[in-house]
Amino acid sequence: MSKIKHILSAEVSDSEIINGIEKGDNRIINKMYKLFYPSIAHMITSNNGTDDEAKDIFQEAVMVLYDKITQQKFELNSKLSTFLYAVSRRLWLKQLSRKGHSTNTSDISDFEDILHVEDDIQQHQEIENKFDQMNEAMSQLGEPCQTLLKDFYIKNLSMQEITDKFGYTNSDNAKTQKYKCLQRLKKIFFTIKIAE
């Protein structure tokens, strides 16, 4: 009986994983690797891929899932393993055709598509672009603005804590600094967006 319990607790349901991703619970990542990675890695390594390429593809597939979960109301209409496998397969085929290997992939490209993941990948790439702009803007912003904004808006530090951390004479100074940083970030972000 205890054995069965043990097995049950080791198994993670799809909805648990989705909840984990939604809440940003990083412990779920390890479980995802254990559950889904082997079959995908096998598919890629047996189709002209290396281990490292398999990892990259897997990570991108998980990011497609992540974007799907975080950006819209996610409806689970297949098993997660099937979804990730289908996405990985599509991504790998794209990569292979970019590399000009299409001749050798008949065994996976011939397979009928189980899921239409094309839209999800498309959406993922758009999101990826958007956030790339934000990342680009952040890196152009430089220090100490980057840390200041992260501390205030992400870590939710109080104005007083920020004043102490960055050594401003009073919290009004810190507030002015924060405002300037934010304005600069917005400016850079929108400039990049227009340039795109």
Binding site: G24, Y33, D51, Y153, K175
Partner: protein, 364 residues
């Protein structure tokens, strides 16, 4: 209201730091100033994007971080584990296959008589030394057993052996050559000449590989003889050459005649000839001479079960052995005779002259 003041107020509102009254005031302000409501909306959207971006980066980093831990798991799973599971599957089959191969090889070898052949091959060479007084000894041993039959005594094995063979003089000052297998393990060696006179001899040098032993007569009663009448032929003798020997298969000298039948000895041994002379135990160490009276070899053994296959060590090997004797173990150099006094004589005359130089070697 200044723009940055408003943003500060908005931040406080969004973070929930405002009191209930202030929240109401902020919301009222936005409702009455649509341009500020617009600013708030933009600010909110931007912050959400910013926060999402950071969370997403965080997740991505964690994902990449996990991939480095997965490394061993992934690669082993795909290669190592495959090999291991493949091996564990085939282990038993491999074991059985090896066992079957092993058994069938040795069964086949056994059935085809390979092992008996090997045994025969190692044992069908017989060294031609003669066991002396064997009849007498056997009778004594039998009597002993009969006498002790009720005493339950295990009869002690008579380890002292007594062998006879042939040897011949190399030089007139008493160096004699015979086979190593004759003198091997000897307590004492006696050389007895044609006239029945016995001399004590000592071993100067032995060469087990060539089966040669060089003895020296160390007896005060020994007088240097006349110069040995034969010479030693270092060159190879041709197959078919007429040869003869004199040896002591019994207590009298026995003449044997034949021909040289091969340039190699037992199983291709290059240090010996194969000769076709009827030889018997006791002939070991006897000289093999050609028609001119040159020593071409020394009889060493024969092959059991094959007629006329006897073996004689080549004279060349004897010379090599002589050259290898350390000078300190010699009493005066061994100078081989190079003047042949037999070549013009008839066979019977040769034999008469030879007999004085050939000894029975008795080993105790």
């Amino acid at each position: 209201m200044q723009r940055h003041k408003f943003i500060e107020w908005a931040d406080q509102y969004l973070r929930g730091e405002l009191e209930q009254i202030d929240i109401q005031a902020f919301e009222d302000f936005c409702a009455s100033n649509p341009e500020y409501a617009q600013i708030l909306e933009e600010h909110k959207t931007f912050l959400i994007t910013f926060q999402q971006s950071e969370n997403r980066n965080h997740f991505k980093a964690a994902l990449a971080e996990e991939a480095t831990h997965i490394e061993s798991y992934g690669s082993q799973n795909h290669f190592g584990n495959k090999v291991i599971s493949f091996w564990s599957k085939l282990q038993i089959n491999t074991g059985i296959a090896a066992a079957v191969a092993f058994i069938s090889v040795f069964t086949t070898l056994w059935l085809t008589g390979y092992f008996t052949d090997v045994k025969k091959a190692t044992s069908d060479y017989s060294a031609l030394r003669r066991e002396m007084n064997s009849v007498k000894r056997n009778v004594t041993a039998q009597n002993k057993v009969i006498q002790n039959i009720n005493k339950n005594e295990v009869p002690k094995k008579d380890i002292s052996s007594h062998f006879g063979a042939t040897g011949f003089l190399l030089t007139k000052d008493g160096y004699v050559v015979t086979n190593y297998h004759v003198v091997n393990g000897a307590d004492s060696i006696q050389l007895q000449n044609q006239k029945g006179k016995a001399f004590r001899a000592e071993i100067i040098h032995t060469d087990a590989a060539k089966d040669l032993a060089i003895l020296r007569i160390a007896d005060s009663s020994f007088r240097t003889t006349k110069t040995v009448p034969y010479t030693f032929k270092k060159q190879l003798t041709d197959v078919g050459e007429d040869i003869y020997t004199i040896g002591f298969p019994r207590d009298e000298a026995v003449y044997g005649q034949g021909y040289l039948s091969s340039n190699t000895g037992y199983s291709g041994d290059t240090i010996a000839y194969q000769i076709s002379i009827p030889v018997n135990p006791g002939n070991s160490g006897g000289p093999v001479l050609d028609t001119q009276g040159n020593v071409v070899g020394i009889i060493s053994g024969k092959q059991k079960g094959i007629d006329g296959a006897a073996f004689a060590i080549k004279t060349k090997e004897l010379i090599e052995t002589l050259n290898r004797i350390p000078t300190e173990s010699l009493k005066g150099n061994i100078v081989l005779n190079n003047k042949n006094s037999l070549n013009k004589l008839s066979r019977t005359e040769q034999i008469k002259k030879l007999q004085d130089f050939i000894y029975i070697v008795k080993v105790y």
